[in-house]
Amino acid sequence: MRGGERMANPILVFCEQRAGRLKRVGLEALGQACRLSKTSSGDVVALVIGSLAGSFTQELADHGASRILLADDPALTHYSPELLTTIVADIARRLEPLAIVMGATAMGKDLAPKLAARLASALLQDCVALEMEADGSLVATRPIYGGKLRAVVKAKKPIMQVVTLRPSVFSPLKRKPTADVFVERLTVSCEATRPMARVRETRQTVEGKKELTEATTIVSGGRGLKGPGNFKLIEELAAALGAAVGASRAVVDEGWRPHSDQVGLTGKTVSPQLYVACGISGAIQHLAGMSSARTIVAINNNPNAPIFKLATYGIVGDLFEVVPLLTEEVKKLKAG
């Protein structure tokens, strides 16, 4: 803790951007940091790093950032664990934040452990709940054992804590137009001081494809579809709902869908508002990846399929009949 003028320690929020676009989970983290700062009474400092084309400052200020730090350098076009760790660690030593919060994205889950090791600080990874005690200690809840249990964990001492938040679990603050936010452009060194990994290229596999872990609605298909060609039904329903397409492990193992579509234990963990499981029986492997969805719809011809135990709404029936009808009804609703 800083002495003297009793300035409370801030919370630092790393807001990830890729290709000039802020990730929504950064705004979610900012929202949660603002809620926590009611206890800590410190600033909420947003940090954006990259080769920054767009202007993020207004969006960040409107979502609760009281200070904004920008580290802008062409050398930061691609993600670099080493350079980002050095930049964030330098800022952390200067600001002495209670916590460094970021989204549990591919980047966040990579950066946070490295940063925590560099700072010898506590790491709270992939949290679904986060509260602050009076001394600034965080109490975090994180799913373990593939979601079968949750661990409530706490840093031993109120040391600096590095936290990643599961996307789509926390809500951003309602946007409130804010003027007069303090913006600081940092001068950062992008010289490698030790051997480091370099991203040669960032490839989008399918242009315009919705990413599962960021989607608010997901339609998934399983073995009940009987063949890769029938995924057309899933894609049409997904298009009507504006949803991302997921798949069970069975159909990924069959080679019907790429591994990047797999939801479950050896695939992705998702927390959408709506998850529609079509022809998926609900093996524990799959449930581990989607059981935190808010509303679950199951369509399956086997009334004893385990997925119905989890489903908010279920239809026992032939998906080849039900799914196209559902697509039509959704289209009607959206048109109406």
């Binding site: 090791a117 506590a122 790491l123 994180r142 593939g146 290229e201 908010t312 609703l333």
Partner: protein, 267 residues
């Protein structure tokens, strides 16, 4: 070229988990333990590199996280798959730590061993943290590439080119050796140990290293050194009972859309 694979032994996925009386851990008695599924990709990749490039040897390394666990069994599986030797880090002082103390112990052991490439699974399916491999790299000052689903090793220029899965795409990453990767599904198809492999594994060396062997202060590691404490474990919140919508398909779908729109308010 020397390769070291770091593996963890975890409860099998289908295990029914029961909490200990104080609620901060699971009961290990009676559980079936297996090699962490992602670590199998790491072992397989190391063996393939050895077979392809004629690497000198593959060492499997593990740490006993709890007195009731026998990671020797998972290490024997590595040996049966084709690893040349195994080392188990075992000391009461190592137990009950967090990702940071685990990384400290592994890093201390790895400082005693020659290697060009370290391979980890992308996460252990018990703690689901996905942090230890990355933290070991940081503590050893090595570059890392995490969540790798494609790997090329160039022994001439002593570097690797790895594809790492990110949202909606891949990052193609180059790193000089020595370095560390964490392995994702899709990297390879792990082999099953063959019967001759299982027989041979019994003759292969499996060393046990304690704290004295790697030299670490007991206060820095295990429960004493952990930065994070488990307050309690709990079941995820129960979901409210669901509803099966009956009737013919047309009526059921109309009712479903109505519920999604009016009750759940998700469309």
């Amino acid at each position: 070229m020397k390769l070291i694979v770091c593996i963890k032994q975890v409860p099998a996925t289908e295990s029914k988990l029961v909490l200990t009386r104080n609620g901060t851990d699971i009961e290990r008695a009676g559980l079936n333990f297996v090699m962490n599924p992602y670590d199998e990709f790491a072992v397989e990749e190391a063996l393939r590199i050895k077979e392809r490039l004629g690497a000198e040897d593959v060492t499997a390394l593990s740490l006993r996280p709890h007195a009731a666990q026998k990671p020797e069994e998972a290490l024997r599986t590595c040996l049966a798959m084709g690893a040349d030797k195994a080392i188990l880090l075992s000391d009461p002082a190592f137990e009950g730590g967090d990702s940071y103390t685990t990384a400290l112990v592994l890093a201390a052991a790895l400082r005693c061993l020659p290697f060009d490439l370290l391979l980890f699974g992308k996460q252990a399916v018990d703690d689901d943290g996905g942090a230890v491999g990355i933290q070991v790299a940081e503590l050893l000052g090595l570059p890392h590439v995490a969540v790798v689903n494609k790997l090329e090793v160039d022994t001439q220029s002593r570097c690797i080119v790895a594809h790492r899965q990110i949202e909606g795409g891949v990052e193609v990453v180059e790193a000089p050796l020595p370095s560390l990767i964490t392995c994702q599904k899709g990297l390879n198809e792990p082999r099953y140990p063959s019967l001759p492999g299982i027989m041979k594994a019994k003759q292969k060396p499996l060393e046990i290293w304690n704290r004295d062997r790697i030299g670490l202060e007991p206060t820095a590691i295990g429960v004493a050194g952990a930065k994070v404490n488990v307050v309690r474990l709990e079941s995820p919140p129960a979901r409210p009972a669901g509803r099966i919508i009956s009737g013919d398909a047309v009526a059921a779908v109309q009712e479903l859309v109505r519920l999604l729109h009016e009750e759940a308010k998700v469309i």
